[in-house]
């Protein structure tokens, strides 16, 4: 019996749309303001992007399973405090980084445990830890800020290798890893399948709870890693680190075409979504120098892109 692969409609239209929008934006921006397309400037300013970008990777995986993690920003606050407190008592950056990562994993683990073992809805769990993590950071540090971690450490985020910011390499590596994980490993397949039908995956002998636990823990780990970059970039560790990050990260993932209901989306889309939002913000702030416009435009971009996807999806099925 001969079995074809079957007719597959063009599967990359999400990415295509994002790509077209991004190029249109860059061209428009380039015409309006030729200085905008300066590569060196773009690379310098890309420093604003990497923290969101890193957090967007595990967030993509989590949203693909139909979950959500509202607590990543707060987890950063907690991690930053852990970093600062550890540094101020030991003076060792390496040890502080380790502690920071561990605290992140622990926080993510708590989320994962509540979600997978206690069966509480991720939105509720992470809404609770959203408040709890930030509060824990504030309480432990008493609102104190820690700084002066040394020039070397600030190179981690501010330094450049070959004109490219160091975190970009990290992101590139991890994004590739995530993309490979999603497309080629059993774990990645489970992530998609859980997003569509968790029950069926459970019946297939997959330990769904463990997959989820690992995902949320890795989100926590990434919050820890991001905190290290954040602390390095601003030379400040304080409980308010990462305030509001969760919404920006979710926005990027969703604009990148990942379905909030799970099952659909990929890392490529997330990367494009991140770039689109980043460039839009930059363009808006260059063009009008009005901070509040950025939030308006990004908000509209979010709703608009989803409307666009819906429209295209309907057309695609016709």
């Amino acid at each position: 019996m001969n079995i074809s692969d079957g007719k597959r409609r063009f599967p990359w239209w999400h990415e295509a749309v994002l790509g077209v929008l991004l190029i249109a934006l860059l061209i428009t921006a380039g015409i309006v303001n030729p200085g905008f397309l300066n590569l060196r400037g773009q690379l310098l300013l890309s420093r604003h992007l990497w923290e969101f970008a890193l957090l967007a990777l595990p967030m993509t995986l989590i949203i693909l399973t139909g979950g959500i993690d509202l607590s990543v920003g707060s987890a950063m606050g907690m991690c930053a405090v852990a970093f600062g407190m550890c540094y101020s008592s030991t003076g060792s950056v390496a040890l502080s980084c380790l502690v920071c990562l561990l605290v992140g994993v622990a926080g993510g683990g708590v989320n994962g445990w509540l979600i997978s073992r206690m069966n509480v809805h991720p939105l509720i769990v992470t809404l609770a830890t959203y408040a709890a993590f930030r509060g824990l950071g504030e309480g432990l540090s008493q609102g104190e800020s820690y700084s002066q971690f040394g020039e070397d450490f600030s190179e981690v985020a501010r330094g450049m290798w070959g004109g490219v910011p160091i975190p970009a390499y990290l992101f590139g590596l991890l994004a590739l890893g995530c993309a490979l994980f999603l497309s080629r490993t059993p774990g990645g397949r489970y992530v998609y399948a859980i997003g569509h039908n968790e029950q069926a995956v459970r019946f297939s002998g997959v330990n769904v709870g463990r997959v989820k636990l690992l995902l949320y823990a890795s989100s926590g780990l990434m919050a820890g890693l991001t905190t290290i970059i954040y602390v390095s970039r601003f030379d400040t560790a304080k409980a308010d680190a990462g305030t509001g990050f969760e919404l920006d990260v979710i926005t990027a993932v969703v604009v990148g075409g990942t379905s909030i209901y799970g099952g659909r989306g990929n890392i490529g889309g997330t990367v494009l979504g991140l770039l689109l939002i980043h460039e839009t913000r930059q363009f808006v702030s260059r063009q009008w120098q009005v901070d509040e416009l950025k939030s308006i435009v990004v908000g509209l971009l979010l709703i608009g892109s989803l409307l666009l996807y819906r429209g295209m999806q309907v057309r695609n099925r016709e």
């Binding site: 079995i3 074809s4 080629r184 059993p186 039908n197 029950q199 297939s204 002998g205 330990n207």
Partner: protein
């Protein structure tokens, strides 16, 4: 002959270029039970949706007593007395019985501003009493057993002036006893002058209750006959379009029974089953019969590690299985084809290939990555072995018919090369031809040495496929019968609770 109650004239409907209905005409008389038969995909559901106002037809009309029914308007249709009970029981699980009965047609007071709750409650109680059901009207319906949910849905139809009741697979999740109660109700409706359009895959029911039968095939109207003019084989031929004698009858190609591969001892879970012990030997098919709610699926799920159990042991291939560990069960050769195909068996939007390889994915890896070629090979093999009809391995599983979907679920488990195959309602919602194929497959696997535990609510299926039959009653094993000699009466006698009436006459 009296004027028909419903006159369906040349209905057409197509989805994405595929004809779901083509020129279907049909009369339903007042006070008759009219059965609608056809394989999956024959257009039954579409016809029902159009009749009940859920969707509009592309062409054609539906007339109720000579006046056209408004198209695509459930409210208006229901107001005219055409009420549908849809395939998936359409109750609101979080609402209580009163709300379930009256949502969409609430009784009101104060010029329609407020609900007349007292009256609705009174009527609900009266209706449920009429149905002979003792249902707590304050409990969310989702907490009720399946059969009672169905009753609530029926009561909902009774609550309105019902002229035509459309029942789409109403017994799909009911036990034999409950089915009889339901059929009795259908007769009761008829005696009150209500017409019933009865859709079912279970032909026994059709012969029991229907006055006339209409057969659809591939969206076309094949024929409408009085039920006394057709017999089983002919009806099947009309549905399938070919001689189907081979589809019925018992398979008893006694295969060689080997050593014990699964041993269950004293399995107990306080809220669902108690002290279950049995063994399964290589090469035999054991049927697990019983009423819905007797705890059969729960036992299967516990065996396989989906749910936990309190005490007892499960031993497979000489190894005791840990509690609640699906992976371990799989490692020791167990496989479970679950009851609910759409929710537990398949990831519908994902490709056929991913579904077939889902349970064995980790064995298809090379350096941690899924090997595409090995996956392809496996999938190709399963598709041809089970003759799954699909446009390709990359099309979404949801595009396949019910029977082919079920084959995917079976194929997915056969891919794990199990020694013990547990099948929970393997042919529910599957059309006649596919059902027969599945039955043949089960026997064939047995002859190759597979030990099979098959849960089924369809007695003919149990009787025709099993070597041995275990019967469960209220969470306990009530007895064991020899497959070759058992009769439906014996099985029922074991399955029915002792203290209750066995007869179903009202």
């Amino acid at each position: 002959m009296a004027d028909p109650l419903i006159h369906v004239d040349r209905l057409c409907k197509s989805y994405v270029g595929v004809h779901a209905l083509a020129d279907v005409s049909l009369d339903i008389r007042a006070g008759e039970v009219h059965a609608l038969c056809g394989e999956n995909g024959a257009g039954k559901s579409t016809l029902i949706k159009i009749l009940s106002g859920v969707t509009r037809s592309d062409a054609g009309t539906v007339q109720l007593e000579g006046k056209p029914l408004p198209a695509g308007d459930v409210h208006a249709t229901e107001d005219r007395g055409v009420i549908a009970l849809h395939q998936e029981s359409t109750v609101f699980p979080d609402l209580d019985a009163v709300d379930n009965l009256f949502v969409g047609c609430e009784l009101r007071k104060w010029r329609g501003l407020l609900l007349n709750r007292a009256e609705m409650r009174r009527q609900t109680l009266a209706l449920l009493e009429r149905l002979g059901e003792n249902i707590d009207p304050t409990r969310p319906v989702g907490e009720l057993p399946m059969a009672q949910r169905q009753m609530v849905a029926m009561a909902r139809a009774l609550a309105r002036r019902c002229r035509l009741l459309i029942m789409d697979e109403p017994t799909a999740s009911l036990s034999a006893r409950e089915t009889q109660v339901l059929l009795q109700l259908v007769r009761q409706f008829r005696s009150q002058g209500v017409s019933v359009l009865y859709v079912s895959h279970r032909l026994e029911e059709v012969f029991q209750v229907a006055d006339r039968v209409t057969v659809l095939r591939d969206g076309h109207h094949v024929d409408t006959r009085d039920i006394i003019d057709v017999d089983h084989a002919e009806l099947i031929r009309m549905m399938v379009g070919r001689e189907a004698a081979e589809l019925v009858g018992r398979h008893h190609s006694k295969s060689a029974i080997g050593e014990t591969v699964l041993q269950v001892r004293g399995l107990t879970r306080s809220d669902s089953f108690h002290d279950i012990s049995f063994e399964l030997r290589a090469g035999e098919v054991v049927g697990l019969a019983g009423l819905v709610g007797a705890g059969r699926s729960e036992v299967a799920r516990a065996l396989f590690g989906i749910d936990h159990y309190d005490s007892g042991t499960v031993t497979a291939a000489g190894q005791r299985l840990p509690v609640g560990d699906v992976a371990a069960a799989m490692k020791h050769g167990l496989a479970l084809v679950p009851e609910d195909r759409q929710h537990e068996g398949l990831v519908l939007p994902m490709p056929v290939s991913s579904n077939l390889s889902l349970s064995v994915l980790s064995s298809l890896t090379r350096c941690g990555l899924v090997s595409r070629s090995r996956e392809r090979e496996l999938v190709q093999q399963q598709i041809s072995a089970l003759s799954i009809k699909t446009a390709g391995m990359e099309v979404a599983a949801e595009t396949l018919s019910g029977g082919n979907q079920q084959k995917i679920v079976v194929g997915k488990w056969l891919a794990s090369r199990p020694r013990v195959l547990i099948l929970d309602e393997p042919t529910r919602g599957v059309d006649v031809a596919a059902k027969a194929q599945l039955h043949r497959l089960i026997r064939q696997l047995a002859s190759e040495g597979m030990a099979t535990l098959m849960i089924s609510s369809e007695l003919p299926e149990i009787l025709s496929v099993s070597d041995r039959i275990l019967v469960m009653r209220e969470g306990q094993l009530a007895g064991e019968l020899e497959g070759a000699t058992a009769t439906a009466e014996q099985v029922l006698a074991l399955a029915l609770p002792e203290e209750r009436e066995v007869s179903v006459s009202s």
